[in-house]
């Protein structure tokens, strides 16, 4: 149904739809790089028993250097997270009176998301049509809020472990035992989630092949893809005549090529990390 609409609006052909502003894209890239570095340095210690870990640790320059890298990346990651909180607060406060918390532009989960989860499973099982999504599909909202959980859990335990003297002056020693377990397991959860579920949703499902999806680097998606992935938003924008506001030129060839290379590099790093994590996990469970 919806794909007929562009046929009626030929002036939009060849255009792209803006999804992410420059700050979000830079933030995502720095976030991805710092998280990958955190995973590498952290998991090398977490899976010290593996054959790969001593090699990686040597390449990193030893545990003291790895520790500095780990805490530097943690500061970058937490810094980006807090800057993002500031940015979001400013955005919301500016449109405080008109901002719809449960509206289509909000990342706050709403009733429709739960209906969409149900609808997706019905579609998976061939019992219903594929749900259509507005600006943020529920898995995108989950990816967003999962970071809050991760930051809260991994970040807070990491800070406890970074400042042991301060921690131990107010808290009992078992906090270190608990923080170590939670920090490592939650980081494992985050890493494996990112490199399987997040990668699949955005790069590896049949409609997205071949990887990479470069929207997070170019900031925009082709209109055709936008129509397919965010049909409800597309229909809404066309109906309210707002689509044009979101249209941008096709990114330059250089930006597109650079984004593809960067995307493939990051995916390769992520999958490599997934491989060494798997080796570590299997090794630890068979010991």
């Amino acid at each position: 149904m919806t794909h007929r609409i562009t046929d009626e609006l030929p002036q939009f052909r060849g255009k792209q739809v803006r999804r992410f502003g420059l700050m979000w894209r830079i933030g995502h890239l720095c976030f991805a790089l710092s998280v990958m570095m955190l995973i590498l340095t952290g998991m090398t210690v977490f899976y010290a028993d593996t054959t790969w870990a001593p090699i990686v640790m040597k390449a990193l320059g030893g545990p003291k250097t790895a520790g500095i890298i780990h805490r530097t990346c943690a500061a970058i990651m937490l810094g980006i997270f807090f800057l993002h909180l500031v940015g979001v607060s400013i955005n919301i406060s500016r449109s405080w009176k008109t901002f719809k918390w449960f509206g289509p532009d909000s990342l706050v989960p709403n009733w429709q998301d739960f209906k969409d989860v149900y609808g997706m499973f019905r579609w998976f099982l061939g019992k219903g049509p594929r749900p259509v999504f507005d600006r943020w599909a529920y898995w995108e909202k989950f990816d967003y809020w999962a970071v809050f959980w991760g930051m809260g859990i991994i970040g807070s335990t990491g800070i406890l472990l970074t400042f042991p003297n301060e921690t131990a002056s107010i808290l009992p020693g078992w906090v270190f035992n608990v923080a170590t377990i939670v920090h490592g397991e939650e980081a494992f959860l985050a890493a494996v989630f990112l490199f399987t579920v997040h990668f699949f949703n955005n790069h590896f499902r049949p409609d997205k092949l071949p990887p990479p999806d470069i929207v997070m680097f170019t900031g925009s998606v082709p209109l055709e893809e936008f129509k397919r992935e965010h049909s409800a938003q597309y229909a809404r924008l066309v109906e309210t005549g707002q689509l044009e506001k979101h249209l941008v030129k096709v990114p330059s060839r250089a930006l597109t090529l650079g984004s593809k290379i960067l995307g493939l590099v990051l995916i390769t790093i992520g999958l490599s990390l997934l491989v060494i994590l798997t080796i570590g996990f299997v090794g630890a469970s068979t010991r």
């Binding site: 210690v45 010290a48 997706m120 301060e166 579920v197």
Partner: protein
């Protein structure tokens, strides 16, 4: 090693070497003749055998004395032939090892043959065994040869700081070459032999360590209760392959050595940052002995133990200079399966496993089904006549 003991020993050795050197090079013809006539036992025998050697070197004759070329009194190496004949090498001729001795004259006029050397002889024997395809029959010799290899890379084989011409320790300083024998396993003699290890290491060289060890839980078990299971020097330091304790190689391997007996504690240690970094091959994080002490290790319940609750903060502060009170209740050997002892770790690990199981079950199911449906749909779309040639 006590520096006083060590330097004394080398002074004596150095004196003997100098004396021998001066005798060999500076002895005048006349002096030589005089000396020869004084100490000659008989005309040089056609063949030197053990009986000939024992005429002078029999320890059964009490303290053996002779005089050197200058007429100064000098003690003579004595051999207890009874013990020697029961030793591993008891059927060998003295000169088979002491190849530089060619006469029965005091002082010996050293020949061109090499001085007694355990290493070269055993290596030669092994080479011969390999040539004759007897390596399986000579399994014990292989052990010796391997030990030689370990020794060559050991701290003991390195040049001594005070006297670089000699290594820190040679074979016969531990093995008493003239009586050496390994008693059959299971015998009380074997037990005695094993229990003598701390004294072998401690008596001549490592006296301070022995003294401290004797007060430790290990030392009391070995020296007083004759408990073979308790650690002696070699259980932690290894024997032939012993390395310098300041090197990372030792700091990394010693945790494994302690873990040879204290397996569960090694496993729980490996779950902490201390143990993980140690496993990666770096020695700077806390190792067993940094907290528990080494030669003087005591039970944690002993009020003098470094890990007794009263002393713990001070022990932590050895590395964590600013450590605060909470450090003392950190559990460096916690596990996640003992609720009685470590309830917090038990609970939180159960929670984390539940969370992981829930998240991955839901999302991997979601992912797998999505893949299946989308692949099916996209195939159907591509095969639809209207959409042939439609990419994506």
């Amino acid at each position: 090693m006590s520096p006083v003991l060590q330097s004394n020993r080398f002074m004596i050795l150095a004196a003997i070497f100098c004396l021998a050197g001066s005798l060999a090079t500076f002895r005048t013809e006349a002096a030589a003749k005089e000396a020869d006539s004084k100490h000659e036992i008989s005309a040089p025998p056609a063949k030197l055998n053990n009986a000939t050697c024992l005429v002078c070197h029999d320890a059964g004759k009490g303290e053996l004395k002779t005089t050197d070329a200058d007429g100064n009194p000098k003690s003579l190496l004595g051999l207890d032939n009874n013990k020697f004949s029961k030793s591993l090498h008891g059927e060998m001729q003295c000169i088979a090892c002491h190849q530089d001795i060619t006469d029965a004259v005091s002082p010996h006029k050293k020949g061109p043959g090499p001085k007694a050397n355990c290493v070269s002889c055993h290596l030669e024997l092994w080479e011969t065994a390999k040539k004759e395809n007897l390596t399986k029959e000579k399994a014990r010799l292989e052990v010796v040869v391997n030990n030689i290899e370990y020794y060559k890379n050991s701290y003991h084989a390195r040049p001594n700081q005070d006297n670089p011409a000699r290594p820190n320790a040679v074979c016969d300083e531990c093995h008493h070459s003239h009586t050496f024998n390994v008693p059959p396993s299971g015998t009380s003699r074997r037990t005695d032999w094993h229990l003598s290890i701390p004294n072998v290491c401690g008596e001549k060289c490592h006296a301070d360590q022995l003294e401290e060890y004797a007060t430790s839980v290990h030392g009391k078990e070995v020296l007083e209760n004759r408990n073979l299971k308790a650690a002696d020097c070699t259980d932690c330091h290894t024997s032939h392959g012993i390395t310098a304790t300041l090197k990372d190689a030792f700091k990394v391997s010693v945790t494994e050595n302690c873990g040879g007996c204290h397996g569960k504690n090694l496993t729980s240690y490996r779950d902490t940052y201390h143990g993980q970094v140690n496993k990666l091959g770096y020695g700077h994080t806390a190792k067993c002995y940094d907290c528990h002490g080494s030669h003087g290790v005591l039970r944690p319940s002993d009020p003098k133990s470094t890990v007794h609750p009263d002393n713990r903060l001070k022990t932590c502060q050895k590395c964590h200079k600013e450590a605060t009170q909470g450090f003392t209740t950190f559990e460096p050997h916690a596990n996640t399966h003992d609720f009685e002892r470590y309830p917090q770790s038990w609970l939180v690990s159960r929670f984390m496993w539940g969370l992981l199981a829930f998240v991955f079950t839901f999302f991997w199911l979601h992912t797998g089904l999505w893949w299946y449906r989308e692949a099916k749909d996209s195939k159907a779309r591509k095969n639809h006549p209207e959409n042939r040639g439609d990419t994506k």
